[in-house]
């Protein structure tokens, strides 16, 4: 198909010249976001010194405060149909994703596939995806607490002491069991991301949600496991596949959006169970 965008009643999704995915809300004209992949080089330290430990299974310690970009523009193809429209995109030969909108469903699915993370350069890498919206979130974001209440997080801040962060990235990372949200109190807009598994996440810039999706590290962080986080399968690093679901809109009617988010969360966490029975050849299928 020669189209360069997909959409349904709620969203229009396209890929821009830099390979970033652009999501535009159809009903909420003043709301949009771009999505992209990045990675941090992992710290390889001297574990004898407390402030110089390696990034490992227990701790996330990027070497630099800025994540690396992927230089090549991503290749992609578009598949459309009556039920679902998909963009199949590859950012590198080890990061690909499917962006998906279903007819009548008020969310955008990002089905990402990362790995095996290359480590021939002897540098561990921690891969993140960023959703950068035009919301002014004023340094605040919300993460869930084991799928229960949402807790307010404030960038570079702790509620009970004056904070001076020596590790500005990892010091702002929080557990995301199933949901992370941003709000714009002036525009009265809200953006939420639901996950299919527990991940780490943050908001390092206003309007941005950053999620860590895969890590491959070559050094033990000396906190107890005694092994580097360097799993291999079939002689290569692990490949990870997972999904993010983006939902958002106006909070003028907060109850309506909350119900939509809750309903989606329940459907994701308690998905239908599929059982399969083969039909043997020459046998008639069960009749209604």
């Amino acid at each position: 198909v020669t189209a360069n965008s997909i959409g349904n009643e709620f969203y229009n999704v396209s890929v821009d010249e830099y390979g970033q995915v652009v999501v535009e809300w159809k009903k909420q004209k003043d709301m949009e976001l771009t999505q992209s992949f990045h990675y941090y080089d992992a710290m390889e330290g001297n574990n004898e010194e407390f402030r110089n430990r390696s990034s490992g299974a227990y701790i996330f310690r990027p070497k630099n405060t800025s994540a690396r970009n992927f230089v090549n523009s991503a290749s992609y193809e578009v598949h459309t149909g009556p039920l679902v429209e998909e963009i199949h995109q590859c950012v590198t030969d080890w990061i690909c994703q499917v962006i998906r909108v279903y007819s009548g469903m008020e969310y955008v699915e990002f089905d990402w596939l990362v790995g095996p993370i290359p480590v021939k350069d002897k540098i561990g890498k921690e891969v993140v995806t960023r959703y950068y919206s035009n919301l002014n979130s004023s340094g605040e974001f919300y993460t869930d607490s084991n799928g229960r209440e949402m807790l307010k997080r404030k960038r570079n801040y702790r509620p009970t002491w004056n904070l001076e962060l020596e590790e500005p990235i990892s010091g702002n990372y929080y557990p995301v069991t199933s949901k992370i949200s941003l709000k714009d109190d002036e525009k009265l807009l809200k953006l939420s991301l639901l996950t299919d598994r527990a991940e780490g996440g943050t908001s390092m810039r206003d309007g941005e949600i950053e999620m860590m999706i895969h890590r491959r590290l070559l050094k033990d962080d000396a906190f107890g496991v005694g092994e580097a986080l360097n799993e291999s399968a079939f002689g290569e690093g692990l490949v990870v596949r997972g999904s993010h679901y983006i939902i958002g809109g106006s909070i003028q009617n907060l109850d309506e959006l909350a119900v939509k988010e809750k309903t989606l969360a329940r459907q994701l966490l308690l998905r239908p169970w599929t059982f399969i029975q083969s039909i043997e050849k020459n046998s008639s299928a069960p009749t209604p």
């Binding site: 227990y58 690909c96 095996p116 079939f234 596949r241 998905r271 059982f275 399969i276 039909i279 299928a285």
Partner: protein, 174 residues
């Protein structure tokens, strides 16, 4: 009860902080995977028994040994759907009605999805599995596409669908 015990034990073990956060040693991770897989298999037997009881018609098409689950759907792989016609029994664990997208790995072609409750054919769509997924190391599958349809499921209940490939309409594989 005995089959459920495996699952209970797995859920108990998986509450250790190393299992929750992934800070276990690699050999322990393999053992956790083994325990979970075992628990899931036993759970499948229980669920298959339950659905067989629900089908009070006594239809032998759903004998427990013939019902399967696919634990590799996350890499778009399922031995039982890739090259055969099949019946799907889909259970909704929510106490609300849902309309949920169902994706099943198949080979390229044209398929008919029939709702067995009313005999109506559902709108379905074939979507290619991306090369990045098909080339995952260790993935062994003949499926090249996914069959997609929207299942409308009752609360805490199930529906069955037959999926048949209409061979006269197979489109050429690129």
């Amino acid at each position: 009860e005995k089959q459920l015990e495996h699952f209970r034990e797995a859920m108990g073990v998986m509450q250790h902080h190393d299992a929750v956060t992934g800070t276990e040693k690699q050999l322990v991770a393999y053992d956790y995977a083994r325990i979970l897989y075992d628990g899931m298999q036993q759970g499948t037997n229980i669920a298959a028994d339950a659905i067989r009881k629900w089908r009070s018609t006594g239809n032998s098409n759903f004998a427990p040994e013939q019902m399967h689950t696919c634990m590799q759907l996350n890499i778009s792989t399922c031995l039982y759907t890739e090259d055969k016609d099949f019946v799907l029994a889909i259970y909704n664990p929510l106490s609300q009605k849902v309309v949920s997208p169902i994706r099943v790995p198949v080979q390229n072609g044209k398929y008919n999805v029939i709702d067995l409750a009313d005999g109506n054919e559902l709108t379905s769509q074939i979507v290619p599995i991306p090369n990045s997924v098909r080339e995952i190391p260790g993935r062994k599958s003949t499926s090249t596409h996914e069959l997609v349809f929207l299942a409308s499921l009752p609360p805490l209940g199930y529906k069955t669908y037959t999926v048949k490939r209409s061979s006269e309409n197979i489109s050429p594989q690129v």
